[in-house]
């Protein structure tokens, strides 16, 4: 007997070492997972944060009456169609009177974003007194200047590798030395839709597109999924047919999302002729995808309600339907809502099926209804990523930050609902 104990003792230290190795291996595994998460978040934040500010240039703007209101009638229509570009270029020319060549002037004029023309127009429309006067104004710089401003190291590299040539760089430095250059909050990012110019592109359009799409998804999937979950968990007889429904639901939960896109394309667009690129179709496709998630969550939280409650209600003479409706369903609502929010946040991050139904178009207008052409936040990210132009990269990362913020808010809401309202039996 002691013989065996001795034998075990001998091998013990080796076994303890392999125990430690194994535990360490597990630790390495989970560390990798955490490390990846940190790297992903870090790389996005480091690239995206600069998109929230943009470069502004201070200019002395002269609201020349000869340009804005040639006839002097202060007619709003006249002002609207006035050449405000000319006003901006004039003040740039005044800032650098030494620039005379046409070619060079053209380059100089591109320092200011074209979106400022409309802003100046609105300024004049709101205060017609300005006409004929001068005013110091901070104007949004073009994206090229913005990139140079955000990456000071670019001033050092050779001209051919730089976005701007030596001349432009010297103007940029002049602005900087005179204190006429500053960073400001990027208002366009939260108030505009897509644009070909990075400094004018924003997420508002795609955010609203996501909102309309998700609204449709919620309206369609929530009632249907809860109804299906209640039927399958509480009322359905156990037979082949309900088994088949279950297999279908479980499988649908694992069908690749792009297949739902093909379904939407073939049936909603080609057969039913619903509008392309519209949130209503996107919402329908995402609703089909979200159904299994909510059904499964509904069933799980119905199952968690103890049978004693059902027995109590049925014992009082309630029908099965009344029992579910009056007692079981209200008790399981927190769980169902949590599942729904999680399903919605999955739908918010989904993009592949929406590519199939045309929500991938370049859309400058902010959508106002369910049938307007629109895109959604993740697809906007995809579109920006596919744009080669410099300046869109940080927009893409910033778009990701906005998307992640929404997802964190939604998941936080889910956690809140779960902790605040869910009963533990």
């Amino acid at each position: 007997m002691t013989n065996i104990t001795e034998k075990i003792k001998l091998s013990l230290s080796k076994r303890q070492r392999s125990e430690k190795r194994f535990k360490f291996l597990g630790f390495i595994g989970i560390s990798f997972a955490i490390l990846f998460l940190i790297i992903i978040l870090y790389s996005i934040f480091s690239q995206g944060q600069s998109a929230f500010k943009s470069t502004y240039i201070e200019l002395n703007i002269f609201f020349d009456e000869k340009i804005i209101d040639v006839e002097g009638k202060r007619d709003i229509e006249d002002i609207k169609f006035a050449n405000f570009r000319k006003i901006i270029t004039n003040s740039l020319d005044n800032y650098f009177p030494e620039v005379e060549k046409r070619e060079e002037k053209r380059k100089l004029h591109e320092f200011i974003s074209s979106s400022e023309e409309k802003n100046l127009m609105n300024l004049v429309l709101s205060d017609q007194e300005l006409i004929g006067k001068s005013k110091q104004l901070w104007l949004l710089a073009s994206s090229t200047i913005d990139v140079i401003h955000k990456n000071p190291e670019m001033e050092e590299i050779v001209e051919s590798d730089r976005l701007v040539d030596d001349l432009e760089l010297s103007w940029f430095k002049t602005f900087k030395e005179n204190g006429n250059l500053k960073f400001g909050f990027n208002k366009n990012f939260f108030s505009k839709a897509d644009s070909t110019e990075p400094e004018q592109a924003g997420v508002l359009g795609s955010m609203l597109g996501s909102f309309f799409t998700l609204l449709i998804t919620l309206i369609l999937s929530f009632p249907i999924a809860v109804a299906a979950g209640v039927f399958l968990e509480e009322l359905a007889p156990k037979n082949r047919f309900t088994d088949f429904i279950e297999v279908n639901i479980n499988n649908l939960a694992a069908v690749p999302s792009i297949i739902f896109g093909l379904l939407g394309l073939a049936i909603f667009l080609n057969v039913m002729h619903l509008p392309r690129s519209a949130p209503i179709v996107g919402g329908m496709v995402l609703a089909l995808m979200t159904l299994p998630t909510i059904i499964i969550a509904t069933r799980a939280s119905l199952k968690a309600v103890p049978p004693s409650i059902r027995e109590a209600a049925i014992g009082l003479g309630a029908t099965k339907f009344q029992t579910v409706n009056h007692h079981v369903l209200p008790l399981s609502m927190p769980g169902i809502l949590t599942g729904t929010i999680i399903g919605m946040s999955q739908a918010l991050g989904e993009s592949a099926p929406l590519l199939m139904i045309g929500m991938v178009a370049f859309i400058v207008d902010i959508p106002g209804s369910f049938t307007d052409s629109a895109t959604v936040l993740p697809v906007q990210i995809y579109l920006w990523k596919s744009t080669a132009a410099r300046g869109f990269l940080e927009l893409t990362a910033a778009g990701v930050m906005v998307l992640l913020t929404f997802l964190i808010l939604m998941n936080g809401l889910a956690v809140f609902v779960r902790q605040k309202f869910e009963k533990k039996w």
């Binding site: 007997m1 065996i4 104990t5 034998k7 075990i8 003792k9 091998s11 013990l12 076994r15 303890q16």
Partner: protein, 256 residues
């Protein structure tokens, strides 16, 4: 041969806490070698908890805290730096519900010898498995199907397989936690016979909720109630003339 009435295990002021709840209160108990000691008492009285202290199975529960000493052959098993692995190899355990591993019958019995590296050759292992199955009285029933999964056996056979698994590493003590509560009367009778047989070579501590079983199989009986050890003594004395009122009440069915 060691003297038959020597003491194998001594528990000195053992207290167990689950979080803030005290499950055992300062238990002092001596367990004689190569005898069967049964622990009885109503459910929740701490008898299983005490049993699990003897091979430090309570260590696997996060919130469990233990005070006091348990001496096996005069050495404290709760001493710092002592590896429970070695302890558990010396003390086998059989559980309430038969829990054969999802492996073949052979591999179930070979599990202990393999992890501890007790055997040197394949033949030695074969013999050891055969021997253990014989000792557990299972060999004749399963000798033709050692490759079949352990879970394919009946409940009573599974429990005997677990016993064979435990004795394969030649432990000094075998702990049994209500080993028959999940079995039918016939399987129970077979296990009880086996316990008698095993007591020749092993020190056995058995937790049981059946007083009749305690009376049938054990030489010493300890009665637990609400985390306290109320009375301990020779089995026939406990059942015929208990000294404590509570023991009397329990045996006559006044408390349960």
């Amino acid at each position: 041969m060691v003297m038959s009435n020597s003491i194998k295990i001594k528990s000195k002021k053992i207290s167990v806490f689950y979080g803030d709840k005290k499950a055992l209160d300062s238990i002092n108990l001596e367990i004689p070698e190569k005898k069967v000691t049964s622990l009885i008492g109503p459910s929740g009285c701490g008898k299983s908890t005490f049993l699990r202290c003897l091979n430090r199975m309570n260590d696997t529960i996060d919130i469990c805290r233990i005070e006091g000493k348990i001496l096996i052959d005069e050495k404290n098993i709760y001493e710092k730096g002592l590896d429970p692995v070695l302890l558990r190899a010396r003390i086998g355990m059989v559980f309430q519900k038969p829990n054969p591993f999802p492996k073949s019958i052979f591999d179930n019995v070979a599990y202990g010898p393999k992890i501890h590296g007790i055997v040197n050759s394949e033949d030695e292992l074969n013999d050891l498995v055969k021997d253990s199955l014989k000792k557990a009285g299972l060999y004749n029933e399963v000798k033709d199907r050692l490759d079949e999964p352990g879970t394919s056996l009946s409940g009573g056979q599974q429990q005997r397989l677990c016993i064979a698994r435990a004795i394969a590493v030649s432990p000094e003590v075998i702990l049994m936690d209500e080993p028959c509560s999940a079995l039918d009367p016939i399987a129970t009778a077979i296990i009880e016979e086996l316990i008698d047989e095993l007591a020749k070579n092993f020190t056995i501590v058995i937790v049981t909720h059946s007083m009749q079983q305690a009376a049938r199989v054990s030489q010493q009986t300890a009665f637990f109630h609400m985390g306290n050890l109320i009375e301990v003594g020779k089995t026939e004395e406990i059942f015929s003339m208990p000294k404590q009122v509570k023991t009397q009440d329990y045996i006559t069915g006044k408390i349960g």
